[in-house]
Amino acid sequence: MAPQHKLVSFTLNGKPTQKMIDVRASLSDMLRNDYSMHSVKEGCEVGECGACTVLIDGETFNSCIYLAVWVEGKDVVTTEGLTGEDGTLSDIQQSFVDEFAVQCGYCTPGFIISAEALLRENKRYTRDELRKMMAGNLCRCTGYENIINAVEKTMEERLEAKAKG
């Protein structure tokens, strides 16, 4: 079967874009191959590890099992999109650095996206709740301890900032 292509228009990290995409391509392949979004990692390509997690219209998805053509008209955010234009790290990225939540780093962007999604809810969660909410991502290096610390820290910072108005 010869590959078929389709024009896909969507917003990537705040910027509207469009490209002809192989209709069979996964979103993770499109983001990596056509947009060089290297933060989108692939650890299993069947929706088990969470390394490929991205935000689609504010919700987390495993981009490896999401067809690229499905993002038509949608808003996609990868870890690259959290970093400021001048390269400044976002609060959750900085927390991952400061809390030593990064080791090999392969799972890191996926975790940061999952964290960002729950942080945007601006609610306070217990550590156990945080563990549950992050359970779609696997990490073999950190034992999750410092990852949970980083998320908890940013959660408190954002709640405090909100309380101050």
Partner: protein
């Protein structure tokens, strides 16, 4: 002083933004892709291969089979080359093989323009096999008449070594001895680094270039050249950031095949990514080892004699081989010394996936068995398990004649005491002493022992290069590799400390390139911080001497009165800053009289090793009717010498503890008895710990400056994985009175054990209707 500070990881900002480049991020998007056809039988011979249908798949470039490969046998273990042929690894591999030894062996490879075509073509290849009987259990494989895997190894025994001391047979005749005996099973588990193994290869300047996710670039270069029959210098190996390895990538996996594939398509770039499923069965696993331990104990607790047998499941090829079981056995007489010993370790081929190195290298297995056994001994004697260990563990001053390691500080007892205090072990022990009911809690502990690096068995050598920029900052290059543990950061801290410059002034070149990087054997055996430390220190001192020589000429002060502090040349008599290193370096480089590009490079050969010690404390809650264990707390205590970076050390311990939890409670590769096929070759069915499977993890340290070490440090990479599982096992024993001698301790295992112990009778009686409905 940069040592002992929790400096931020040098690679963290790039890793949280997606800027850090891993192998696939660097590969040309139009590279050809390769896929491997794995055997669908466990044992036999490929009779013929029909590729005609596969060739027709659009996009297929070339199909290569086991009948096409060069006949250079090679070994895959990531060990330094040995000049003595008797000490080399077993060379039993070909790039592809017609002689099938496990379900998943490598039969053919397809090179195609894209992944879809490659996958389609692999499915379209027809293979005709002659099937042989197969064997999956090491003790079965040792029997006469069992299916034979390799001609040179009768009864499938790859290795058998012993430690015999004193007179065992005489010693057990002593009156009044108590005999404690047990069989202990440890599982086959997989590393599950989140980045699957991947490489790409192409030809350039007459060389084969391989970019690979490996822990051991210099070793993989050598093995690749051997497998292809090329001069070693004709292969260049590049290692960018890697997404974890844990020992799996301490083997040459598919890099040699990948290198050969590019040579078969005119040097075009070929990418070979191993899918997650294949990673489970077609790369490496941890050796499952079955132990049989018998202790003859006097009523006072002392050992009259001890016997140890280990049967290690090697799988189909030698890889790291007998080293794992031998290391596990080595720990046995050292931990609880005894004069009369009989120890035998066997490593046996079976028709299963190949076992190689995995974090802990035989010690997690040996500690699960050994520390379960010690608990049983203490119980049989009616002694407190913690006091019993403290009384009979390796005494302070103990020296091992082979490794020449010395227990200088009584680290074991210091670690146990610290852990006991902070964990509240005694309080919990009392609190949980007399429980009945369905839900019970318990606490347990276990210790571990570990060496640092591979001397005196193998070479320990490390090289370092430091190059100064005009601004006084330096580039640091090591042959040792960053694989996530934080090696780059630790080396930068050492360099800064010895050279007298700020941490931020050290630029680490993280990627290894065997054409450029100084030699180092790589990330394994928890060696790098210790071994690399010698090379960094020596090179930084040489660099410093060069700088001070220039400073002497420029300031007309004697070298003895000069020092480098915080990036400045300082006169030590009055601490006056003479100039910055930047001024010095610029002046020296562009001088019309004495121009020099200030750099230093040196190799340090290390002829020492160091004991690393520690223990784990676990608290569990057991739901007896549900046969479920909930881990409530886990604390590890380590003496790994001086901490170079405390926060990084702590993080390293968390990761190892996590792996130990999986080892103790959930992880196990399952095999189909009828076919030899792995049943759970994916991350859904293989139960890796997720964030919810962990309690908060506590890492504690006892810091005794290691006297043999350049910076006072010693092994930490693997030790955290070693004692968690037996501590959990012992906590379950404390909670329920049931000794479980098989890991992982899953509900399946507990159901059997609790049934036998009579704990489930009440539950079983209450569901007679269900039992009846079954019939």
């Amino acid at each position: 002083m940069s040592i002992g500070k929790s400096q931020i990881r040098v690679d963290a900002p790039d890793k949280v933004t997606g800027r850090a480049r891993y192998t696939d991020d660097l590969c040309d998007k139009n590279a050809l892709v390769a896929r491997i056809l794995h055997s669908t039988i466990a044992h036999g011979e490929v009779k013929s291969i029909d590729t005609s249908e596969a060739e027709k798949v659009p996009g297929v470039v070339k199909i290569l089979t086991c009948f096409d490969v060069p006949h250079f046998k090679f070994g895959t273990a990531g060990h330094p080359w040995h000049l003595d042929p008797g000490h080399r690894d077993v060379e039993d591999r070909l790039l592809l093989t017609s002689r099938i030894r496990f379900y998943g062996d490598d039969v053919a490879a397809v090179i195609a323009e894209n992944d879809v075509a490659a996958a389609q073509a692999v499915r379209a290849i027809k293979v005709e096999y002659e099937e042989f009987p197969f064997v999956l259990d090491p003790q079965e494989a040792m029997k006469d008449g069992a299916p034979q895997l390799h001609e040179d190894f009768p009864n499938n025994i790859l290795g058998h070594t012993t430690i015999y001391r004193g007179d065992f047979d005489e010693a057990i005749k002593e009156d009044g001895l108590i005999k404690v005996e047990g069989w202990y099973e440890s599982p086959t588990v997989q590393h599950c680094h989140i980045e699957p193994p991947i490489s790409y290869a192409y030809m350039e300047a007459g060389k084969v270039v391989v970019v690979a996710s490996t822990q051991i670039p210099h070793i993989v270069r050598r093995i690749t050249a051997q497998a292809l029959g090329l001069p070693w210098g004709s292969v260049r190996l590049v290692k960018p950031y890697i997404g974890g390895g844990f020992g799996n990538k301490q083997d040459a996996l598919y890099e040699p095949l990948n290198a050969w594939l590019t040579t078969q398509v005119g040097g075009r770039m070929v990418k070979l990514e191993i899918p997650r499923e294949d990673t489970f069965f077609a790369t490496r696993v941890r050796h499952a080892i079955r132990f049989h331990i018998t202790s003859y104990v006097r009523p006072d607790g002392s050992f009259a004699a001890r016997e140890f047998e280990a049967f290690s499941d090697q799988g189909a090829y030698a890889s790291h081989g007998h080293g794992i079981a031998a290391k596990g056995m080595g720990a046995f007489p050292q931990l609880y010394p005894c004069d009369n010993l009989k120890c035998d370790a066997y490593t046996v081929f079976t028709n299963k996936p190949v076992a190689g190195a995995m974090r802990g290298y035989g010690i997690p297995q040996a500690m699960f068995a050994g520390e379960a056994h010690i608990e049983d001994v203490a119980k049989a004697l009616g002694k407190d398990p913690l006091d019993y260990r403290k009384q009979f563990l390796m005494p302070v001053g103990y020296a091992d004649s082979f490794s020449r390691n010395v227990n200088y500080f009584d680290s074991f007892r210091q670690c146990i005491d610290k852990g006991m205090e902070q964990f509240g072990f005694r309080e919990k022990q009392k609190e949980y002493a007399a429980q009945t009911g369905d839900i019970r809690r318990g606490v347990g502990l276990a210790v571990f022992w570990y060496n640092t690096g591979v001397w005196p068995i193998s070479l320990e050598s490390s090289a370092c290069r430091i190059v100064m920029n005009q601004d006084g900052t330096v580039q640091l290059q090591m042959g040792e590799t960053e694989i996530g543990q934080g090696a780059d950061t630790a080396f930068a801290q050492m360099t800064a400390a010895t050279l007298g410059i700020p941490f931020e002034h050290v630029h680490v070149i993280s990627a290894q390139d065997t054409d450029i990087t100084p030699f180092g054997t790589g990330a394994y055996a928890s060696r790098q911080t210790y071994m690399g430390g010698f090379a960094v220190r020596q090179t930084a001192e040489q660099m410093k001497a060069k700088i001070l020589k220039h400073a002497e000429r420029m300031t007309r002060m004697p070298v003895s009165n000069l020092d480098i502090r915080d990036g400045n040349i300082v006169r030590t008599t009055d601490n006056a800053v003479q100039m910055s290193l930047g001024e010095l370096a610029t002046n020296v480089l562009y001088s019309m009289e004495y121009s020099e590009h200030i750099a230093a490079e040196s190799t340090y050969q290390i002829n020492s090793n160091a004991y690393s010690f520690g223990c784990s404390f676990a608290e569990v809650e057991v739901d007896i009717p549900m046969c479920k264990v909930k881990l409530l707390r886990l604390t590890n205590v380590h003496d790994c010498g001086t901490l170079i970076n405390p926060a990084l050390a702590e993080a390293q311990v968390h990761g190892g503890m996590s792996m130990a939890i999986g080892y103790g409670l959930s992880e196990k590769c399952l095999f189909d008895e009828k076919t030899g096929r792995q049943l759970n070759d994916n991350l859904l069915d293989y139960k890796l710990c997720t964030p919810v499977d962990h309690p908060d993890l506590t890492a504690l340290f006892v810091e005794n400056h290691e006297p043999t070490s350049a910076y006072g440090t010693k092994a930490l990479g693997e030790p955290p994985t070693c004692s968690g599982a037996p501590a959990i096992r012992n906590a379950i024993l404390h909670a329920t009175g049931v000794a479980i001698n098989e890991a992982p301790i899953t509900p399946h295992v507990l159901f059997e054990e609790f049934s036998q112990a009579g704990l489930l009778e009440k539950t079983a009686k209450s569901v007679p209707a269900m039992a009846g409905a079954d019939r």
